[in-house]
C-alpha cells in the first residue's frame, strides 16, 4: 500500500521566519553593494570567495552540524530557508554549496576526528570548496561501473584513472570521490568501491575544464596519475562505499535547488505581463504558481522528514523527478506565455536574456544528480516493483 508516500504538511516554525528576514536583508545588502546581480543568472562570476566568507560569518554554513565543528546545531528547516532564499536571489553559492549540502555531512559520518576538526570549521567559515567525484567516462547512471583504481601502498593509496563531469573541480580544495579498491564480487556487483577524501591542487591531479552548451565552464575532467591519498583519508568502510553513496544522494535530491534553478524566468514573466494580464497569461501563470507551490510544499515536507531523522529516499526521488521536469519545462512555458507581451514592455529585455540562458540550461536539469530514468527506477523499487 502507499503508506510510504505521505507528505505531511510541515509548517516552518516561527524562528524560520525570523531567519528568512535576516537572509533577505543580507542578500539585499549584498545586491546593493554590487556583489552580485539577481537578474543575471548567466554571470561569469559564479565563484565569489568573499561572498562565501560573509555567508559563513553569518553562521549559515554547516547550520545543522555540531557546534564543536563550527556548526550551529540548527534544524534542517532553518537550513532549508537559507537555501531557498539564496537560490531565489540567484546568489553566487557555487563555492560553498556542495560542501554545505553533501560533503560536510559525509565527513561528519565517516571521517576520523582530527580531519573533522580540521576541515569542518573551515567549511563553516566559507573558506573551502568541495567537488564530488562519482562519475567516470563509462560510469554515470551505473555508478558501480567505476574503474578509477586506488591501489594500496605504504601509508595510503595510489590513485590512477579519470573522473568526469566534476562540477567545480577547478576551484575545489577537496573532492570526495569513490575509487575502486577491489573488483566486484559475483554476489555483489556493488562491492569494491571505497570513498576517499582527496586534497586537490597537488601533484598527480590534473583538472581539465569542459565547456557547457550554456557557454560556461562549470564541470571538468579530473585525471589522477599515481596520486597519493593517505590512509586516514579513507571515508567509512573499505569496499563498502555503495551504502554510503546512496544515503548521500538523498541529501542531493530533495532540496529547493531541485526545482528552483530556472525560477527567475517566472518572476520576470510576472514583471513583463504587468498587473493586468490577459486571460491566457493569467491562466498560465496561475498553473505554474500552483505547480511550484505544490512542489515546494513536498520539498519542505521532505526537509521535515530529514529533521525527524528519517531517510526519505523515495520521497526525495519523487520531488527531484517532478521538480527537475518542471524546472526544465518552465523556460519553454514562459516563452509561450510571453509571446504576446508587448515588445516595449518593461523588462522584456531582461526576460529575453534570461530565457536565452534558461533554455540552454534546461537540458542538464534532468541529468545532474541522477537522471529521470534512474530516479523512476528508485521510485519503482519503493513501490515494490523491483
Amino acid at each position: 500500500m502507499t503508506a510510504a508516500l505521505r507528505f505531511d504538511p510541515i509548517r516552518l516554525p516561527e524562528k524560520c521566519e525570523q531567519l528568512r528576514k535576516e537572509v533577505r536583508a543580507f542578500l539585499a545588502e549584498e545586491i546593493a553593494a554590487g556583489t552580485f546581480d539577481p537578474h543575471k543568472p548567466n554571470r561569469e562570476d559564479t565563484d565569489v570567495p568573499e561572498f562565501s566568507r560573509k555567508v559563513g560569518a553569518k553562521g549559515w554554513l554547516g547550520m545543522t552540524w555540531p557546534k564543536k565543528y563550527g556548526g550551529q546545531e540548527r534544524s534542517f528547516l532553518e537550513r532549508y530557508v537559507v537555501t531557498e532564499e539564496m537560490r531565489v536571489a540567484n546568489a553566487p553559492t557555487r563555492r560553498f554549496f556542495v560542501a554545505d549540502r553533501q560533503s560536510g555531512p559525509v565527513l561528519i559520518k565517516y571521517a576520523p576526528e582530527h580531519i573533522k576538526m580540521d576541515i569542518l570549521p573551515r567549511i563553516c567559515r566559507g573558506e573551502i570548496c568541495f567537488a564530488i567525484g562519482m562519475s567516470e567516462p563509462n560510469s554515470g547512471s551505473d555508478l558501480f561501473a567505476a574503474k578509477t583504481r586506488a591501489t594500496k601502498t605504504d601509508g595510503g593509496y595510489l590513485i590512477n584513472g579519470t573522473k568526469i563531469w566534476t562540477s567545480s573541480a577547478h576551484i575545489a580544495d577537496y573532492m570526495i570521490a569513490i575509487f575502486r579498491t577491489s573488483p566486484p564480487t559475483k554476489e555483489n556487483r556493488r562491492h569494491g568501491l571505497t570513498q576517499f577524501l582527496v586534497k586537490m591542487k597537488q601533484p598527480g591531479i590534473q583538472v581539465n575544464p569542459i565547456g557547457q552548451i550554456t557557454g560556461q565552464y562549470e564541470f571538468n575532467e579530473v585525471v589522477f596519475t599515481d596520486f597519493f591519498v593517505p590512509d586516514d583519508h579513507v571515508l567509512g568502510e573499505v569496499d563498502g562505499a555503495w551504502k554510503q553513496a546512496t544515503s548521500e544522494l538523498a541529501y542531493e535530491r530533495s532540496g529547493p535547488e531541485r526545482f528552483l534553478e530556472t525560477y527567475y524566468v517566472l518572476t520576470e514573466l510576472v514583471r513583463a505581463v504587468g498587473p493586468n494580464p490577459d486571460t491566457r497569461s493569467a491562466e498560465g501563470i496561475g498553473r505554474l504558481v500552483a505547480q511550484l507551490h505544490t512542489m515546494r510544499r513536498m520539498s519542505v515536507s521532505v526537509a521535515g522528514m530529514l529533521q525527524a531523522g528519517k531517510e526519505p529516499v523515495v520521497e526525495a526521488s519523487i520531488v527531484k523527478d517532478i521538480g527537475t521536469v518542471w524546472e526544465q519545462q518552465l523556460p519553454h512555458r514562459v516563452r509561450d506565455l510571453a509571446a504576446f507581451v508587448e515588445e516595449t514592455a518593461t523588462n522584456r529585455e531582461t526576460l529575453e536574456r534570461q530565457l536565452d540562458f534558461a533554455i540552454k540550461t534546461a537540458p542538464k536539469l534532468t541529468i545532474q544528480g541522477g537522471t529521470t530514468e534512474v530516479l523512476r527506477g528508485i521510485i519503482a523499487r519503493g513501490l515494490g516493483l523491483r
Binding site: 502507499t2 520576470e268 505581463v273 494580464p277 491562466e283 501563470i285 498553473r287 500552483a290 519503482a380
Partner: protein
C-alpha cells in the same frame, strides 16, 4: 492505505470497508448499497462533522473533517457525504442549525449566482450541483442588495433538471424562483462566494487525492499480477516508469490537498496565503487526475476500460470532481491575476509564506 490515527477517520474507514467496498458497489446495479451506507454514516454523525453540537452536528474539527474527505476519496464513495458536510459547514457560518438527511450546497460553480430580493425570497440558477436530486435540503449562498446571506432551503421548493457528470454521479441544475427559505441569516463579515468555492475546491482536492492513492494501489497490484511475454508486467521498465510517474502525481495531489486543508484548519480567515493553498490544490489535483488517471488506465489495459472493473469508479470520479467549485482553468486564471496584481517581487514571499 495510510494508517489513520484519528478516530473520525478510523470510524469512517471501517464503515467504508464494510459497506462501500468498490467491487461490491460496482456489481450492484440497483444501488441497494446506498441506504445502509448513508444510515451508517449518519449514525456515526459523519455527514454533520463540521456542524457544532449546539447546531445539531457532531462538532468535529476542520482538520478531522478534511481527513475524512480524503478517506472518502480513497473509496470513491458516491453518496453526498462531502456535499452534506459542506452544506452543514456553510449553514454553521451563519449559525443556522442543520436538519437531518442529505444536503448539498449551491451554487457549486463560481459563475452562477443566487440572489435574494427584499422580502428574502431566493432566485437564480445553479448548474452542476452535486447530488441535488438526492438532497432534502440545500444550503444556499445568496447575494442581496445589502450583502451576502446564507440560507437553508427545502429542496422540494427548487426546480431540478437532472444531469450526470462524467463519473455517473448526479450533477444537476437547480433553479430557484422566488423561493422562501426555511431560515436565512446574513453571512459573517468577509465571507463570500469565493470563500465557499475555495472550501468546496479543497474538499474536492482531498477526494481526488484519495482516489489517486487508490488508483496507484490497484495499479501496482495489477502490474504484479498480470503476466505478458512470460513476465509480470511490473518487471518491464517502461511500466515501472509509468507507475513511478503515477506515484509522483498521487503524491503531489496528496501534498497539495493536505497542505491546503492544514492551512485552512489553522488560519484565521481566507487571506492571500490560504487562497494560494486552496486554489493551487484544486489546480494541481485536477492536473494529477488527468495525468495519473491516464497512467492507471494504461497499466490496466483493456480490462480497466470495462464497466465491470472498479478502476473507473476512481478515475472517472476524479475527472468529474475537477469541474466542481471551479475548474482548474478558473482557478488558474484567478490565481494568475492575483499574482500579477501583487507584482513580480511579491511572488516569492507569497510562495514562501509557510
Amino acid at each position: 492505505m495510510a494508517e489513520s490515527d484519528n478516530i473520525v477517520v478510523e470510524t469512517a474507514e471501517k464503515i467504508f470497508a464494510d459497506l462501500a467496498d468498490p467491487q461490491t458497489i460496482n456489481n450492484d446495479k440497483k444501488g441497494s448499497w446506498q441506504a445502509p451506507l448513508w444510515q451508517a454514516l449518519s449514525e456515526a454523525g459523519l455527514p454533520l462533522s463540521w456542524v457544532p453540537d449546539d447546531l445539531g452536528g457532531s462538532g468535529a474539527s476542520l482538520a478531522d473533517g478534511f481527513a475524512l474527505l480524503n478517506a472518502a476519496g480513497r473509496f470513491a464513495v458516491a453518496v453526498p457525504l462531502a456535499e452534506t458536510m459542506l452544506a452543514g459547514w456553510l449553514l454553521a457560518q451563519a449559525r443556522i442549525s442543520s436538519p437531518e438527511g442529505e444536503m448539498t450546497v449551491l451554487p457549486a460553480s463560481p459563475r452562477d449566482r443566487i440572489t435574494r430580493d427584499a422580502d428574502g425570497a431566493l432566485s437564480g440558477r445553479a448548474r452542476g450541483v452535486p447530488f441535488a436530486k438526492a438532497a432534502t435540503h440545500f444550503a444556499v449562498l445568496a447575494h442581496g442588495n445589502d450583502g451576502i446571506s446564507i440560507a437553508l432551503v427545502d429542496a422540494s421548493k427548487g426546480r431540478i433538471e437532472s444531469g450526470l457528470n462524467v463519473g455517473y454521479d448526479h450533477s444537476d441544475t437547480v433553479t430557484l424562483d422566488k423561493v422562501q427559505p426555511v431560515t436565512i441569516k446574513p453571512a459573517p463579515g468577509g465571507f463570500d462566494q469565493t470563500t465557499l468555492m475555495l472550501m468546496g475546491g479543497v474538499a474536492r482536492s482531498l477526494q481526488i487525492a484519495g482516489a489517486l492513492e487508490s488508483m496507484l494501489d490497484i495499479s501496482v497490484r495489477y502490474s504484479n499480477e498480470r503476466v505478458a511475454f512470460e513476465k509480470k508486467i511490473s518487471k518491464f521498465q517502461a511500466v515501472q516508469h509509468n507507475l513511478a510517474r503515477l506515484a509522483g502525481e498521487s503524491a503531489a495531489a496528496l501534498a497539495a490537498a493536505t497542505s491546503a486543508a492544514d492551512a485552512i484548519a489553522n488560519a484565521k480567515g481566507f487571506d492571500d496565503e490560504v487562497y494560494l493553498e486552496a486554489a493551487s490544490a484544486k489546480i494541481r489535483c485536477a492536473e494529477a487526475a488527468e495525468k495519473g488517471g491516464a497512467i492507471a488506465h494504461q497499466v490496466h489495459g483493456a480490462i480497466g476500460f470495462t464497466i465491470e472493473h472498479i478502476l473507473h469508479r476512481y478515475s472517472l470520479r476524479a475527472l468529474a470532481w475537477r469541474d466542481d467549485f471551479g475548474s482548474e482553468s478558473h482557478w488558474a486564471v484567478e490565481l494568475g491575476k492575483l499574482v500579477a496584481n501583487r507584482g513580480a517581487d511579491e511572488l516569492w514571499p507569497l510562495v514562501a509564506s509557510r
